[in-house]
């Protein structure tokens, strides 16, 4: 072997080792910037439609900082990503949205979250609906999240389809036609009789509305028990579940079963591909609309259907479905800047702007009282006075205690049982048994 060749081989070996070592060193040595350093970029993670696109641009210019808005469509996917970021200690945005069904689970490990109390401007806690602010805090007074929106509840309906069916189609007349769920079913049967089509999108849509119209516990009691605490663990039966005895859960279930028996649901499971396509195709004429759903209805229906949807009162009185907070993970390198951004996104002006953009209903009392909000009419929804409709109903919302894995029990036990009933895979009794069977595994924490 010639000298040069040998040299070459040695050099290659050395380079190889050096590269391997370098790679290992790089993986370990990621320095944290010094406190107070100017961030290159802040990342905001949200799901669904928060209406932050314009606000973020506004903040970028005002504060000379770059912001990346990462949106995930589906809450389930979003939650999985967040879990991965927290489990691996990297990747989370500097500001992340936490929904009501998942915030309690994430609160279980407070070490993951920056206590916003140290950054909150004086008096911020008093600016919000007090129950909403409280749900974003921990028992010992740490502030995990600034309140963004609350769902509240209305019914979105297709005025053009109602009109074509020869039924009352003005929003006041529609609201008056379904004061209760029984009346709602009558309207549905009437619509079905005239058009041969189903009226409401899914059973889950209705059950979500009813779930919050009754007082009392849902899937957990006040102390986060899944089972009646009086029953010894060894003697537990499905009928001892809090969920099995909750009047609210029972009412939501029974209403859904009544609707199924009347056959007025379109069998499009909420969030499914059939459901999304159904908005454009007119598969159904009614869906339950928390305020944040307005942006989703609009997105799914497209510009071609502008003015066809309208907003009426929800049957059975006001309710709530969803609502979120903005939190700052401790893994953020710029907690001060992130908290400042979260404060900006949840202040009165921003909440009104987000509401106008995509529908999330303000929780800031100044925002709720501002004429800019109360006088707002939504052009896409046939100029429905959404500010007034949702603004009034928000006052009636009773805070409901949601357990640590509420979202999981609701989606994977309750709604999947309802979807099985809707698809004809199970009878009502079988579906109820399946629901109770799934609660313990989905609800355990």
């Amino acid at each position: 072997m010639s000298v040069t060749k040998r040299r070459l081989r040695q050099a290659a070996a050395v380079a190889l080792v050096a590269i391997t070592a370098l790679g290992a060193a790089a993986a370990c040595g990621e320095a944290k910037p010094e406190a107070g350093a100017k961030p290159d970029k802040l990342i905001v993670d949200t799901f669904g439609e928060f209406g932050y696109e314009d606000l973020v641009k506004q903040y970028e210019t005002a504060n000379n900082v770059k912001i990346e808005l990462r949106k995930t469509g589906d809450l389930g996917d979003y939650r999985n990503k967040l879990v991965r970021y927290l489990a691996t200690g990297k990747g989370a945005g500097d500001v992340v949205a936490l929904e009501e069904g998942i915030i309690n689970e994430f609160k279980l490990n407070q070490a993951n979250w920056v206590d916003l109390a140290q950054y909150a401007p004086a008096g911020k806690s008093g600016e919000y609906l007090s129950w909403k602010w409280d749900l974003g805090t921990t028992g010992d007074g740490k502030v995990i999240g600034y309140p963004t929106d609350v769902g509240s509840l209305a019914a979105c309906y297709r005025r053009d389809l109602f009109q074509a069916a020869g039924m009352p189609f003005e929003r006041d007349a529609v609201s008056a036609s379904w004061p209760t769920w029984d009346k709602f079913i009558e309207v549905g049967l009437q619509y079905k009789g005239k058009t041969g089509k189903a009226m409401v999108d899914s059973l889950a849509s209705v059950s979500n509305a009813v779930l919050f119209q009754q007082p009392g516990d849902l899937f957990y009691d006040k102390d986060d028990n899944l089972y009646n605490p009086a029953v010894k663990p060894a003697d537990r039966k499905p009928t001892d579940l809090i969920a099995a005895n909750s009047p609210a859960v029972k009412a939501a279930w029974d209403t859904a079963v009544k609707i199924h028996n009347a056959g007025i649901e379109a069998k499009t499971a909420t969030w499914s591909a059939e459901w999304s396509a159904g908005f454009k195709q007119g598969t159904f004429a009614v869906t339950m609309c928390p305020s944040w759903m307005l942006g989703i209805v609009k997105g799914n229906s497209g510009d071609a259907n502008a003015g066809k949807w309208d907003v009426a009162a929800v049957p059975g009185g006001s309710g709530n479905w969803g609502g979120s907070w903005l939190a700052v993970p401790t893994q953020s390198k710029y907690p001060t800047e992130a908290a400042k951004l979260a404060d900006f996104l949840t202040n009165a002006t921003s909440q009104v702007a987000a509401f106008k953009k995509s529908g999330p209903l303000p929780t800031n009392k100044t925002a709720l009282a501002s004429p800019d909000f109360t006088g707002y009419t939504n052009a896409y929804f046939n100029n429905a006075p959404t500010g007034k409709v949702f603004g009034e109903s928000v006052k009636n919302i009773q805070p409901v205690h949601l357990g640590p894995r509420h979202g999981s029990v609701k989606e994977k036990a309750f709604e999947s049982a309802l979807n099985a009933l809707m698809a004809g895979q199970l009878t009502a009794d079988q579906a109820w048994a399946k629901f109770l069977n799934d609660v313990p595994s989905q609800g355990a924490f």
Partner: protein
């Protein structure tokens, strides 16, 4: 590091006094001879260690715990309890049944079709090279894209497939909410991706069969069908078994297609198409509190693949003899 050897100071003694010592380059050469082979193969083992071995050990370790993914203070050692629970978990066995069922439904038609394609391409076709390359194209598309596109095709209300079926008078099939419907849809996705790939492997094996065998068979009056049955198939048997092994390993890990088809990890309202990998995902990632249980599912999946591979291996040994 070995770099220092080249810059080592020369010996203090003057050359004429000293007994003849090996010069530094000699020592380096010896080091080179001994160490280099290990260095050359080191990158594989380093990378395998980091991305292969470590996760396996970590997963086994996790599976022995009650493991909370995001709250480190809520973890405790439970020994083999997760595995004990798993054996009496209906949803786990449901996932095993689904995985095996979908595997069979996907693989049997796939291999037959691949054989047919390979046999066709093995003849003197026009634009043979074009066709041979074209059948591999589905394999290079991303699984996620396949899942999304086929998920749309298999929609109940506005899907193309139901529309085509409606032309011949078939009622809309609820692909997602029926067991057979969902299994079929997923099998079609799997076959779309892998039929061409397997056909190419079969084709390669077929090309290695000496032409004169066919010629003499033809002289003896053997039909094409007879040639396939009596020459081609016996000659490609080892390849066939290789393809079966690869398909088994892939089939047992089936994940992305059903996940995207379902939209969540449940695989349908009644978990009618939840595979073992999806159940692992549900328990290990989605449910933050049961990551240890999810790891145990991963452990069982690992065992299942080993058992399947050993069975296949025994089959090969038998067939080679």
């Amino acid at each position: 590091m070995s770099l220092s050897a080249t810059t080592a100071p020369p010996p203090a003694v003057s050359p004429e006094q000293a007994p003849r010592k090996p010069r530094p380059t000699h020592r380096l050469a010896r080091f080179d001879l001994r160490a280099s082979p290990y260095l050359y193969i080191a990158p594989f083992f380093v990378i395998f260690g980091i991305f292969g071995l470590y996760p396996i050990i970590r997963t086994v370790w996790m599976s022995l715990h009650n493991w909370n993914l995001i709250a480190p203070d809520r973890r405790s050692f439970v020994g083999l309890q997760n595995y004990v629970d798993l054996l009496s978990d209906d949803y786990f066995w449901n996932a095993v049944r689904n995985t095996v069922g979908i595997f069979l439904l996907a693989t049997i038609p796939q291999l037959l079709l691949a054989l047919f394609l390979a046999n066709t391409l093995n003849r003197g076709l026009r634009w043979r090279t074009f066709f041979r390359m074209a059948i591999l194209v589905p394999n290079v598309t991303s699984v996620a894209a396949v899942g999304i596109v086929f998920g749309t095709l298999f929609q109940r209300d506005f899907g193309v497939i139901n529309w085509v079926l409606s032309l011949v008078g078939v009622d809309a099939i609820d692909w997602r909410n029926t067991t057979w419907g969902s299994w079929t849809a997923i099998s079609v996705m799997v076959d779309w991706r892998w039929t061409g790939y397997n056909a190419l492997i079969f084709l390669a094996a077929m090309q290695a069969i000496p032409r004169d065998l066919y010629e003499s068979a033809a002289l003896d009056g053997a039909s094409r069908w007879r040639q396939l049955w009596s020459i081609t198939l016996p000659m490609i048997r080892p390849t066939f078994i290789f393809v079966v092994i690869i398909s088994t390993i892939g089939g047992l890990q089936l994940f992305t297609e059903p996940l995207i088809f379902s939209g969540d990890s449940l695989g349908g309202n009644l978990r009618q198409f939840q595979t073992v990998a999806m159940y692992m995902f549900e328990k290990g990632i989605e449910t933050t509190t049961t990551a240890g249980y999810g790891a145990a599912v991963a452990g069982m999946l690992f065992l299942m693949i080993i058992v399947a591979s050993v069975l296949n291996f025994l089959l090969i040994r038998k067939s080679v003899r």
